[in-house]
Protein backbone atom coordinates (compact mmCIF):
# COMPACT_ATOMS: atom_id res chain seq x y z
CA UNK A 1 0.00 0.00 0.00
CA UNK A 2 1.43 3.27 -1.05
CA UNK A 3 1.10 5.91 1.62
CA UNK A 4 0.06 9.09 -0.15
CA UNK A 5 1.72 11.21 2.45
CA UNK A 6 4.88 13.24 2.04
CA UNK A 7 8.07 12.07 3.68
CA UNK A 8 7.69 14.25 6.80
CA UNK A 9 4.78 12.05 7.78
CA UNK A 10 7.01 9.35 9.08
CA UNK A 11 9.03 11.64 11.22
CA UNK A 12 6.01 13.42 12.55
CA UNK A 13 3.98 10.35 13.31
CA UNK A 14 6.77 8.41 14.88
CA UNK A 15 6.13 9.52 18.46
CA UNK A 16 2.52 8.47 18.17
CA UNK A 17 2.82 5.13 16.51
CA UNK A 18 6.17 4.22 18.03
CA UNK A 19 7.43 2.64 14.85
CA UNK A 20 11.00 3.42 13.97
CA UNK A 21 11.14 5.39 10.78
CA UNK A 22 13.68 3.26 9.03
CA UNK A 23 11.88 -0.05 9.43
CA UNK A 24 8.59 0.71 7.73
CA UNK A 25 9.68 -1.18 4.66
CA UNK A 26 9.55 -4.66 6.11
CA UNK A 27 6.67 -4.21 8.48
CA UNK A 28 3.53 -6.15 7.84
CA UNK A 29 0.84 -4.67 5.65
CA UNK A 30 -1.57 -4.55 8.55
CA UNK A 31 0.77 -2.32 10.44
CA UNK A 32 0.97 0.04 7.50
CA UNK A 33 -2.78 0.13 7.12
CA UNK A 34 -3.15 0.61 10.82
CA UNK A 35 -0.76 3.51 10.73
CA UNK A 36 -2.74 5.06 7.91
CA UNK A 37 -5.90 4.69 9.94
CA UNK A 38 -4.24 6.35 12.88
CA UNK A 39 -3.23 9.22 10.61
CA UNK A 40 -6.73 9.53 9.27
CA UNK A 41 -8.15 9.56 12.76
CA UNK A 42 -5.69 12.13 13.97
CA UNK A 43 -6.27 14.39 11.00
CA UNK A 44 -10.01 14.04 11.38
CA UNK A 45 -9.82 14.98 15.01
CA UNK A 46 -7.63 17.97 14.42
CA UNK A 47 -9.78 19.24 11.58
CA UNK A 48 -13.19 18.71 13.06
CA UNK A 49 -13.02 18.69 16.84
CA UNK A 50 -13.63 22.15 18.21
CA UNK A 51 -10.53 22.35 20.31
CA UNK A 52 -7.83 24.75 19.23
CA UNK A 53 -9.72 26.09 16.31
CA UNK A 54 -7.00 28.39 15.24
CA UNK A 55 -5.71 28.29 11.75
CA UNK A 56 -2.26 27.26 12.82
CA UNK A 57 -3.62 24.38 14.84
CA UNK A 58 -5.19 22.93 11.77
CA UNK A 59 -2.26 23.77 9.59
CA UNK A 60 0.18 22.12 11.95
CA UNK A 61 -1.91 19.03 12.16
CA UNK A 62 -2.29 18.92 8.43
CA UNK A 63 1.38 19.19 7.88
CA UNK A 64 1.24 15.44 7.53
CA UNK A 65 -1.75 15.48 5.28
CA UNK A 66 -3.08 12.40 3.64
CA UNK A 67 -5.52 11.83 0.86
CA UNK A 68 -6.86 8.52 2.12
CA UNK A 69 -9.31 10.18 4.44
CA UNK A 70 -10.78 12.51 1.82
CA UNK A 71 -11.00 9.64 -0.63
CA UNK A 72 -12.85 7.49 1.87
CA UNK A 73 -15.27 10.25 2.79
CA UNK A 74 -15.92 11.21 -0.80
CA UNK A 75 -16.63 7.60 -1.70
CA UNK A 76 -18.88 7.04 1.31
CA UNK A 77 -20.79 10.24 0.62
CA UNK A 78 -21.27 9.37 -3.02
CA UNK A 79 -22.36 5.83 -2.18
CA UNK A 80 -24.79 6.92 0.52
CA UNK A 81 -26.33 9.56 -1.68
CA UNK A 82 -26.66 7.27 -4.66
CA UNK A 83 -28.10 4.17 -3.04
CA UNK A 84 -31.74 3.67 -3.75
CA UNK A 85 -31.84 6.17 -6.56
CA UNK A 86 -33.24 5.21 -9.91
CA UNK A 87 -30.11 6.11 -11.79
CA UNK A 88 -27.69 5.39 -9.03
CA UNK A 89 -24.54 5.36 -11.11
CA UNK A 90 -25.26 8.79 -12.52
CA UNK A 91 -25.86 10.20 -9.06
CA UNK A 92 -22.70 8.54 -7.80
CA UNK A 93 -20.69 10.02 -10.62
CA UNK A 94 -22.24 13.42 -10.10
CA UNK A 95 -21.58 13.54 -6.37
CA UNK A 96 -18.09 12.15 -6.61
CA UNK A 97 -17.18 14.53 -9.39
CA UNK A 98 -18.58 17.44 -7.45
CA UNK A 99 -16.64 16.75 -4.29
CA UNK A 100 -13.40 15.77 -6.00
CA UNK A 101 -13.36 18.54 -8.57
CA UNK A 102 -14.83 20.90 -6.02
CA UNK A 103 -11.93 20.43 -3.63
CA UNK A 104 -9.46 21.11 -6.41
CA UNK A 105 -11.32 24.10 -7.84
CA UNK A 106 -11.83 25.65 -4.43
CA UNK A 107 -8.16 25.34 -3.62
CA UNK A 108 -7.19 26.90 -6.93
CA UNK A 109 -9.70 29.64 -6.26
CA UNK A 110 -8.04 30.49 -2.97
CA UNK A 111 -4.61 30.52 -4.58
CA UNK A 112 -5.88 32.74 -7.37
CA UNK A 113 -7.34 35.15 -4.89
CA UNK A 114 -3.87 35.65 -3.53
CA UNK A 115 -3.82 33.16 -0.70
CA UNK A 116 -0.89 30.92 -0.05
CA UNK A 117 -1.92 27.36 0.55
CA UNK A 118 -0.18 24.09 0.25
CA UNK A 119 -2.27 22.53 -2.44
CA UNK A 120 -2.77 19.01 -1.14
CA UNK A 121 -3.07 20.24 2.40
CA UNK A 122 -6.07 22.32 1.41
CA UNK A 123 -7.55 19.47 -0.60
CA UNK A 124 -7.05 17.27 2.44
CA UNK A 125 -8.82 19.74 4.71
CA UNK A 126 -11.73 20.21 2.35
CA UNK A 127 -12.04 16.46 2.10
CA UNK A 128 -12.03 15.94 5.84
CA UNK A 129 -14.65 18.62 6.25
CA UNK A 130 -16.98 16.40 4.27
CA UNK A 131 -17.23 14.19 7.31
CA UNK A 132 -20.16 16.06 8.92
CA UNK A 133 -21.98 15.88 5.63
CA UNK A 134 -21.36 12.16 5.46
CA UNK A 135 -22.90 11.88 8.92
CA UNK A 136 -25.83 13.99 7.80
CA UNK A 137 -26.33 11.89 4.69
CA UNK A 138 -26.30 8.65 6.65
CA UNK A 139 -28.73 9.95 9.25
CA UNK A 140 -31.01 11.38 6.60
CA UNK A 141 -30.95 8.07 4.77
CA UNK A 142 -31.99 6.24 7.91
CA UNK A 143 -34.48 8.67 9.43
CA UNK A 144 -37.61 9.71 7.65
CA UNK A 145 -38.96 12.32 10.06
CA UNK A 146 -38.74 15.57 8.28
CA UNK A 147 -37.79 17.96 11.06
CA UNK A 148 -35.07 15.59 12.27
CA UNK A 149 -33.58 15.56 8.81
CA UNK A 150 -33.65 19.32 8.55
CA UNK A 151 -32.16 19.74 12.00
CA UNK A 152 -29.40 17.22 11.42
CA UNK A 153 -28.53 18.71 8.06
CA UNK A 154 -28.34 22.23 9.42
CA UNK A 155 -26.25 21.14 12.38
CA UNK A 156 -23.82 19.18 10.27
CA UNK A 157 -23.59 21.99 7.75
CA UNK A 158 -22.75 24.41 10.54
CA UNK A 159 -20.14 22.04 11.86
CA UNK A 160 -18.52 21.66 8.46
CA UNK A 161 -18.54 25.39 7.86
CA UNK A 162 -17.03 26.19 11.22
CA UNK A 163 -14.24 23.76 10.50
CA UNK A 164 -13.54 25.09 7.02
CA UNK A 165 -14.13 28.81 7.16
CA UNK A 166 -11.26 29.78 9.48
CA UNK A 167 -8.79 27.87 7.39
CA UNK A 168 -9.99 29.17 4.05
CA UNK A 169 -10.77 32.64 5.29
CA UNK A 170 -7.40 33.20 6.91
CA UNK A 171 -5.52 32.04 3.88
CA UNK A 172 -6.53 35.00 1.76
CA UNK A 173 -5.95 38.73 2.25
CA UNK A 174 -8.22 40.57 4.61
CA UNK A 175 -10.75 42.04 2.22
CA UNK A 176 -11.42 38.86 0.34
CA UNK A 177 -12.53 36.41 2.98
CA UNK A 178 -16.05 36.16 1.73
CA UNK A 179 -14.85 35.71 -1.82
CA UNK A 180 -12.93 32.65 -0.75
CA UNK A 181 -15.59 31.34 1.60
CA UNK A 182 -18.57 31.77 -0.69
CA UNK A 183 -17.71 28.97 -3.15
CA UNK A 184 -17.00 26.61 -0.26
CA UNK A 185 -20.41 27.31 1.15
CA UNK A 186 -21.92 26.86 -2.30
CA UNK A 187 -20.49 23.36 -2.48
CA UNK A 188 -21.38 22.37 1.07
CA UNK A 189 -24.88 23.75 0.90
CA UNK A 190 -25.56 21.92 -2.34
CA UNK A 191 -24.25 18.69 -0.85
CA UNK A 192 -26.31 19.19 2.28
CA UNK A 193 -29.34 19.81 0.12
CA UNK A 194 -28.62 16.56 -1.68
CA UNK A 195 -28.47 14.76 1.63
CA UNK A 196 -31.64 16.35 2.92
CA UNK A 197 -33.93 15.69 -0.01
CA UNK A 198 -32.70 12.17 -0.55
CA UNK A 199 -35.53 9.72 -0.46
Amino acid sequence: MLPPSPPPTLGASAPHSAIPDEYTLDESIWKTIGRDFVTIGRNLRSVLIPINWKFHGQAQALRNWDLWGPLVFMLVLAIVLSTGEKNASAVFAMVFAEVALGAIVLTINVILLGGELVFFQAVCLLGYCLFPLVVAAIICAAVSIKWVRILVTVLCLTWASFATIPFIGNAVPQGRKSLAVYPVMLMYVSLAWLAMVKS
Binding site: K54, F55, H56, A59, Q60, L81, T83, G84, E85, K86, N87, A90, V91, M94, I108, N109, I111, L112, L113, G114, G115, E116, A141, A142, S144, I145, K146, R149, N170, A171, P173, Q174, G175, R176, K177, S178, L179, Y182, P183, L186, S190, W193, L194, V197, K198, S199
Partner: protein, 351 residues
Protein backbone atom coordinates in the same frame (compact mmCIF):
# COMPACT_ATOMS: atom_id res chain seq x y z
CA UNK B 1 -1.04 38.23 -1.73
CA UNK B 2 -0.01 41.79 -1.25
CA UNK B 3 -1.03 44.36 -3.70
CA UNK B 4 0.59 47.69 -3.79
CA UNK B 5 -1.19 50.93 -3.30
CA UNK B 6 -1.43 51.23 -7.04
CA UNK B 7 -3.54 48.12 -7.26
CA UNK B 8 -6.92 49.71 -7.16
CA UNK B 9 -8.77 50.98 -10.15
CA UNK B 10 -10.70 53.55 -8.20
CA UNK B 11 -14.21 52.25 -8.25
CA UNK B 12 -14.97 53.26 -4.72
CA UNK B 13 -15.31 56.90 -4.09
CA UNK B 14 -14.64 57.05 -0.34
CA UNK B 15 -11.27 55.39 -0.39
CA UNK B 16 -9.50 55.72 -3.70
CA UNK B 17 -5.97 54.91 -4.53
CA UNK B 18 -3.38 54.43 -1.87
CA UNK B 19 -5.60 54.61 1.15
CA UNK B 20 -7.49 51.63 -0.11
CA UNK B 21 -4.50 49.54 -0.85
CA UNK B 22 -3.12 49.92 2.60
CA UNK B 23 -4.75 46.93 4.32
CA UNK B 24 -3.14 44.69 1.82
CA UNK B 25 0.28 45.91 2.59
CA UNK B 26 -0.20 45.35 6.27
CA UNK B 27 -1.30 41.76 6.15
CA UNK B 28 -3.14 41.02 9.31
CA UNK B 29 -2.36 37.41 9.82
CA UNK B 30 -2.49 36.38 13.40
CA UNK B 31 -0.98 32.98 13.02
CA UNK B 32 2.51 31.76 12.87
CA UNK B 33 2.34 29.82 9.66
CA UNK B 34 1.53 32.74 7.48
CA UNK B 35 4.36 34.81 8.82
CA UNK B 36 6.86 33.35 6.46
CA UNK B 37 4.56 34.05 3.57
CA UNK B 38 4.31 37.65 4.58
CA UNK B 39 8.02 38.14 4.51
CA UNK B 40 8.30 36.09 1.37
CA UNK B 41 5.68 38.14 -0.34
CA UNK B 42 7.26 41.34 0.72
CA UNK B 43 10.46 40.18 -0.83
CA UNK B 44 8.73 39.33 -4.04
CA UNK B 45 6.92 42.62 -3.96
CA UNK B 46 10.17 44.51 -3.81
CA UNK B 47 11.47 42.44 -6.69
CA UNK B 48 8.43 43.35 -8.65
CA UNK B 49 8.85 47.00 -7.89
CA UNK B 50 12.34 46.78 -9.22
CA UNK B 51 11.25 44.92 -12.28
CA UNK B 52 8.55 47.31 -13.23
CA UNK B 53 11.18 49.90 -13.82
CA UNK B 54 13.44 49.92 -16.83
CA UNK B 55 14.11 46.56 -18.37
CA UNK B 56 10.92 44.57 -18.51
CA UNK B 57 11.39 42.46 -21.56
CA UNK B 58 8.33 41.52 -23.51
CA UNK B 59 9.75 38.70 -25.47
CA UNK B 60 7.07 36.18 -26.27
CA UNK B 61 7.78 32.61 -27.05
CA UNK B 62 11.07 32.24 -25.26
CA UNK B 63 10.19 31.61 -21.69
CA UNK B 64 7.82 28.70 -21.82
CA UNK B 65 9.99 26.51 -19.68
CA UNK B 66 11.17 29.19 -17.32
CA UNK B 67 11.37 27.84 -13.78
CA UNK B 68 8.91 29.29 -11.32
CA UNK B 69 10.11 32.03 -9.13
CA UNK B 70 12.77 33.35 -11.46
CA UNK B 71 12.15 37.04 -11.61
CA UNK B 72 12.12 38.55 -14.99
CA UNK B 73 11.18 35.42 -16.82
CA UNK B 74 9.66 36.61 -20.05
CA UNK B 75 5.96 36.02 -20.46
CA UNK B 76 4.89 33.14 -22.62
CA UNK B 77 3.37 33.89 -25.91
CA UNK B 78 -0.25 34.63 -26.58
CA UNK B 79 -2.73 31.87 -26.15
CA UNK B 80 -1.40 30.74 -22.83
CA UNK B 81 -4.51 31.30 -20.83
CA UNK B 82 -7.95 32.77 -20.44
CA UNK B 83 -6.63 36.27 -20.58
CA UNK B 84 -4.35 35.79 -23.52
CA UNK B 85 -5.98 38.59 -25.39
CA UNK B 86 -5.07 41.02 -22.70
CA UNK B 87 -1.84 42.18 -24.16
CA UNK B 88 -1.07 45.76 -23.63
CA UNK B 89 -2.10 46.70 -20.13
CA UNK B 90 0.34 47.65 -17.46
CA UNK B 91 0.53 45.06 -14.73
CA UNK B 92 0.16 46.26 -11.21
CA UNK B 93 2.14 43.35 -10.07
CA UNK B 94 4.23 41.24 -12.30
CA UNK B 95 2.57 37.88 -12.39
CA UNK B 96 4.28 37.08 -15.64
CA UNK B 97 7.28 35.87 -13.77
CA UNK B 98 5.33 32.70 -13.17
CA UNK B 99 5.30 30.24 -16.04
CA UNK B 100 2.00 29.71 -17.76
CA UNK B 101 1.33 26.43 -15.99
CA UNK B 102 1.54 28.04 -12.59
CA UNK B 103 -1.82 29.01 -11.18
CA UNK B 104 -0.38 32.13 -9.65
CA UNK B 105 0.21 33.57 -13.08
CA UNK B 106 -3.52 34.16 -13.43
CA UNK B 107 -3.89 36.01 -10.18
CA UNK B 108 -4.13 39.15 -12.24
CA UNK B 109 -7.63 38.11 -13.21
CA UNK B 110 -8.71 37.43 -9.66
CA UNK B 111 -7.38 40.65 -8.24
CA UNK B 112 -10.62 41.80 -6.64
CA UNK B 113 -11.90 42.36 -3.14
CA UNK B 114 -15.29 41.55 -1.76
CA UNK B 115 -16.29 45.18 -2.13
CA UNK B 116 -15.27 45.21 -5.77
CA UNK B 117 -17.26 42.10 -6.53
CA UNK B 118 -20.31 43.41 -4.73
CA UNK B 119 -20.08 46.67 -6.61
CA UNK B 120 -19.78 44.85 -9.91
CA UNK B 121 -22.72 42.59 -9.19
CA UNK B 122 -24.86 45.55 -8.19
CA UNK B 123 -23.76 47.56 -11.16
CA UNK B 124 -24.51 44.70 -13.51
CA UNK B 125 -28.09 44.71 -12.28
CA UNK B 126 -28.64 48.44 -12.63
CA UNK B 127 -26.24 48.83 -15.50
CA UNK B 128 -28.84 50.33 -17.77
CA UNK B 129 -29.11 53.39 -15.62
CA UNK B 130 -25.49 53.77 -14.67
CA UNK B 131 -23.38 52.38 -17.45
CA UNK B 132 -19.89 52.79 -16.07
CA UNK B 133 -19.05 49.13 -15.63
CA UNK B 134 -16.72 49.10 -18.60
CA UNK B 135 -14.76 52.15 -17.50
CA UNK B 136 -14.34 50.87 -13.99
CA UNK B 137 -13.33 47.36 -14.90
CA UNK B 138 -11.24 48.35 -17.90
CA UNK B 139 -8.04 48.31 -15.88
CA UNK B 140 -8.90 45.42 -13.65
CA UNK B 141 -11.21 42.86 -15.21
CA UNK B 142 -11.77 39.79 -13.10
CA UNK B 143 -12.77 36.28 -13.94
CA UNK B 144 -13.85 35.43 -10.42
CA UNK B 145 -17.29 36.92 -10.90
CA UNK B 146 -18.02 35.31 -14.25
CA UNK B 147 -16.96 31.85 -13.15
CA UNK B 148 -18.76 31.79 -9.85
CA UNK B 149 -21.83 33.54 -11.19
CA UNK B 150 -22.24 30.84 -13.79
CA UNK B 151 -21.53 28.11 -11.26
CA UNK B 152 -23.99 29.56 -8.78
CA UNK B 153 -26.63 29.68 -11.48
CA UNK B 154 -26.05 26.04 -12.34
CA UNK B 155 -26.45 24.96 -8.74
CA UNK B 156 -29.42 27.17 -8.01
CA UNK B 157 -31.28 26.14 -11.12
CA UNK B 158 -30.70 22.50 -10.22
CA UNK B 159 -31.84 22.98 -6.63
CA UNK B 160 -34.91 24.99 -7.61
CA UNK B 161 -35.82 22.43 -10.22
CA UNK B 162 -35.53 19.69 -7.70
CA UNK B 163 -37.49 21.59 -5.11
CA UNK B 164 -40.36 22.22 -7.48
CA UNK B 165 -40.47 18.63 -8.62
CA UNK B 166 -40.49 17.57 -4.98
CA UNK B 167 -43.44 19.85 -4.25
CA UNK B 168 -45.24 18.46 -7.28
CA UNK B 169 -44.56 14.95 -6.16
CA UNK B 170 -45.87 15.67 -2.69
CA UNK B 171 -48.98 17.21 -4.11
CA UNK B 172 -49.60 14.21 -6.35
CA UNK B 173 -49.04 11.77 -3.56
CA UNK B 174 -51.02 13.70 -1.04
CA UNK B 175 -54.25 12.83 -2.77
CA UNK B 176 -54.16 9.09 -2.28
CA UNK B 177 -52.31 8.78 1.01
CA UNK B 178 -51.18 10.98 3.88
CA UNK B 179 -47.78 12.11 2.67
CA UNK B 180 -45.14 10.01 4.37
CA UNK B 181 -41.74 11.61 4.09
CA UNK B 182 -39.40 9.84 1.74
CA UNK B 183 -37.68 6.92 3.39
CA UNK B 184 -35.09 4.36 2.53
CA UNK B 185 -37.09 1.40 3.78
CA UNK B 186 -36.83 -1.56 1.41
CA UNK B 187 -40.51 -1.58 0.61
CA UNK B 188 -41.52 1.99 0.03
CA UNK B 189 -44.92 2.80 -1.26
CA UNK B 190 -44.15 2.59 -4.93
CA UNK B 191 -45.40 5.44 -6.99
CA UNK B 192 -48.64 4.58 -8.71
CA UNK B 193 -47.39 2.64 -11.67
CA UNK B 194 -49.38 2.66 -14.84
CA UNK B 195 -48.85 -0.92 -15.91
CA UNK B 196 -50.58 -3.88 -14.28
CA UNK B 197 -47.37 -5.85 -14.35
CA UNK B 198 -45.92 -3.47 -11.85
CA UNK B 199 -48.71 -4.14 -9.40
CA UNK B 200 -48.16 -7.86 -9.63
CA UNK B 201 -44.54 -7.90 -8.68
CA UNK B 202 -43.32 -6.72 -5.34
CA UNK B 203 -41.33 -3.69 -4.52
CA UNK B 204 -38.03 -5.34 -5.15
CA UNK B 205 -39.26 -6.69 -8.41
CA UNK B 206 -40.48 -3.25 -9.29
CA UNK B 207 -37.06 -1.83 -8.87
CA UNK B 208 -35.54 -4.52 -11.02
CA UNK B 209 -38.20 -4.14 -13.65
CA UNK B 210 -37.63 -0.42 -13.63
CA UNK B 211 -33.99 -0.89 -14.21
CA UNK B 212 -34.67 -3.20 -17.09
CA UNK B 213 -37.44 -1.27 -18.72
CA UNK B 214 -36.77 1.17 -21.49
CA UNK B 215 -35.44 4.62 -20.75
CA UNK B 216 -38.69 6.29 -21.65
CA UNK B 217 -40.53 4.43 -18.93
CA UNK B 218 -37.71 5.14 -16.57
CA UNK B 219 -38.06 8.83 -17.19
CA UNK B 220 -41.78 8.64 -16.78
CA UNK B 221 -41.42 6.91 -13.46
CA UNK B 222 -38.82 9.27 -12.17
CA UNK B 223 -40.88 12.35 -12.81
CA UNK B 224 -43.39 11.23 -10.24
CA UNK B 225 -40.72 10.17 -7.81
CA UNK B 226 -38.76 12.46 -5.59
CA UNK B 227 -35.20 12.50 -6.70
CA UNK B 228 -32.41 14.87 -6.72
CA UNK B 229 -30.86 14.37 -10.10
CA UNK B 230 -33.95 13.27 -11.84
CA UNK B 231 -32.93 15.31 -14.81
CA UNK B 232 -29.20 15.21 -14.44
CA UNK B 233 -28.92 15.74 -18.16
CA UNK B 234 -30.47 19.11 -17.53
CA UNK B 235 -27.65 19.88 -15.16
CA UNK B 236 -25.17 19.20 -17.91
CA UNK B 237 -27.17 21.34 -20.28
CA UNK B 238 -27.34 24.20 -17.84
CA UNK B 239 -23.58 24.02 -17.32
CA UNK B 240 -23.08 24.05 -21.08
CA UNK B 241 -25.44 26.99 -21.52
CA UNK B 242 -24.13 29.18 -18.75
CA UNK B 243 -20.43 28.53 -19.27
CA UNK B 244 -20.89 28.41 -23.01
CA UNK B 245 -22.76 31.68 -23.20
CA UNK B 246 -20.02 33.51 -21.35
CA UNK B 247 -17.21 31.80 -23.17
CA UNK B 248 -18.39 31.41 -26.74
CA UNK B 249 -20.48 34.54 -27.11
CA UNK B 250 -17.74 36.44 -25.34
CA UNK B 251 -15.19 35.10 -27.79
CA UNK B 252 -17.38 36.01 -30.74
CA UNK B 253 -17.87 39.55 -29.49
CA UNK B 254 -14.20 39.89 -28.78
CA UNK B 255 -13.15 38.76 -32.23
CA UNK B 256 -15.77 40.93 -33.86
CA UNK B 257 -14.45 43.97 -32.08
CA UNK B 258 -10.91 42.97 -32.89
CA UNK B 259 -11.89 42.55 -36.51
CA UNK B 260 -13.04 46.13 -36.50
CA UNK B 261 -9.68 46.92 -34.92
CA UNK B 262 -11.29 48.06 -31.73
CA UNK B 263 -9.69 48.33 -28.34
CA UNK B 264 -10.93 45.57 -26.11
CA UNK B 265 -9.46 42.92 -23.92
CA UNK B 266 -10.78 39.41 -23.81
CA UNK B 267 -10.89 39.40 -20.03
CA UNK B 268 -13.08 42.50 -20.14
CA UNK B 269 -15.56 40.80 -22.42
CA UNK B 270 -15.71 37.73 -20.21
CA UNK B 271 -16.07 39.95 -17.20
CA UNK B 272 -19.04 41.83 -18.61
CA UNK B 273 -20.72 38.74 -19.93
CA UNK B 274 -20.23 36.87 -16.70
CA UNK B 275 -21.58 39.59 -14.50
CA UNK B 276 -24.57 40.18 -16.72
CA UNK B 277 -25.74 36.69 -15.77
CA UNK B 278 -25.87 37.60 -12.11
CA UNK B 279 -29.34 39.08 -12.54
CA UNK B 280 -30.64 35.60 -13.14
CA UNK B 281 -29.62 34.35 -9.71
CA UNK B 282 -32.48 35.98 -7.78
CA UNK B 283 -34.79 35.44 -10.72
CA UNK B 284 -34.16 31.71 -10.83
CA UNK B 285 -35.03 31.51 -7.13
CA UNK B 286 -38.17 33.59 -7.50
CA UNK B 287 -39.30 31.49 -10.44
CA UNK B 288 -40.11 28.75 -7.95
CA UNK B 289 -43.43 30.56 -7.50
CA UNK B 290 -45.74 28.71 -9.84
CA UNK B 291 -47.43 31.68 -11.50
CA UNK B 292 -46.77 31.70 -15.21
CA UNK B 293 -47.11 35.40 -15.89
CA UNK B 294 -44.95 36.27 -12.93
CA UNK B 295 -42.22 33.96 -14.18
CA UNK B 296 -42.40 35.50 -17.64
CA UNK B 297 -42.34 38.97 -16.16
CA UNK B 298 -39.31 38.23 -13.99
CA UNK B 299 -37.30 36.51 -16.67
CA UNK B 300 -38.04 39.16 -19.24
CA UNK B 301 -37.23 41.90 -16.77
CA UNK B 302 -33.91 40.25 -16.00
CA UNK B 303 -33.22 39.78 -19.68
CA UNK B 304 -34.00 43.41 -20.39
CA UNK B 305 -31.71 44.54 -17.59
CA UNK B 306 -28.94 42.28 -18.78
CA UNK B 307 -29.31 43.27 -22.40
CA UNK B 308 -29.39 46.94 -21.45
CA UNK B 309 -26.27 46.45 -19.36
CA UNK B 310 -24.47 44.83 -22.27
CA UNK B 311 -25.70 47.47 -24.70
CA UNK B 312 -24.74 50.47 -22.63
CA UNK B 313 -21.32 49.13 -21.81
CA UNK B 314 -20.37 47.96 -25.25
CA UNK B 315 -21.78 51.05 -26.95
CA UNK B 316 -18.79 53.32 -26.56
CA UNK B 317 -16.25 50.69 -27.52
CA UNK B 318 -18.06 49.46 -30.56
CA UNK B 319 -19.01 52.91 -31.80
CA UNK B 320 -15.39 53.90 -31.49
CA UNK B 321 -14.28 50.85 -33.42
CA UNK B 322 -16.83 50.72 -36.19
CA UNK B 323 -19.18 53.70 -36.34
CA UNK B 324 -20.87 52.42 -39.47
CA UNK B 325 -21.82 48.96 -38.33
CA UNK B 326 -21.99 49.55 -34.63
CA UNK B 327 -25.74 49.44 -34.47
CA UNK B 328 -25.83 46.04 -36.19
CA UNK B 329 -23.29 44.58 -33.82
CA UNK B 330 -25.05 45.98 -30.80
CA UNK B 331 -28.35 44.72 -32.09
CA UNK B 332 -26.86 41.26 -32.46
CA UNK B 333 -25.49 41.37 -28.95
CA UNK B 334 -28.89 42.33 -27.58
CA UNK B 335 -30.59 39.72 -29.74
CA UNK B 336 -28.27 37.02 -28.45
CA UNK B 337 -29.07 38.00 -24.91
CA UNK B 338 -32.80 38.00 -25.53
CA UNK B 339 -32.44 34.57 -27.10
CA UNK B 340 -30.66 33.42 -23.98
CA UNK B 341 -33.46 34.79 -21.84
CA UNK B 342 -36.12 33.07 -23.91
CA UNK B 343 -34.20 29.83 -23.85
CA UNK B 344 -33.80 30.00 -20.10
CA UNK B 345 -37.47 30.70 -19.59
CA UNK B 346 -38.62 27.92 -21.85
CA UNK B 347 -36.10 25.35 -20.76
CA UNK B 348 -35.18 25.99 -17.14
CA UNK B 349 -37.31 28.46 -15.31
CA UNK B 350 -40.60 26.90 -16.31
CA UNK B 351 -39.97 24.27 -13.64
Amino acid sequence: MSFGPQSHAGAWAPAPGGAYGQPHMALQFTDTTAQQYVTGTMGRHEERQGMLGPGRSDDPGVGFAAPPGVPGAPPPGPGAGPGAGAGEHTPREDYTKYPFYNVRRYREYFDVDTKDVLWRVTNSMIGVFRPNFMEVTMKNPDLYGPFWTATTLIFIVAVANNFVSYIDWRKNRGSDSPPPPPSLSPSPEPTPSPSPVMDAVGAMGAAAADALSNPGRLLLASTTDDQWFTDYTKLGTSAAIFYGYVFIVGLIVFFTVKWFKGELKLANVFCIYGYCLSVYVPVSILCVIPIAWLQWLLVMLATALGAGFLFMNFKATIFAAAPARASIVLLLIVAAHVALGLGLKLYFFSY
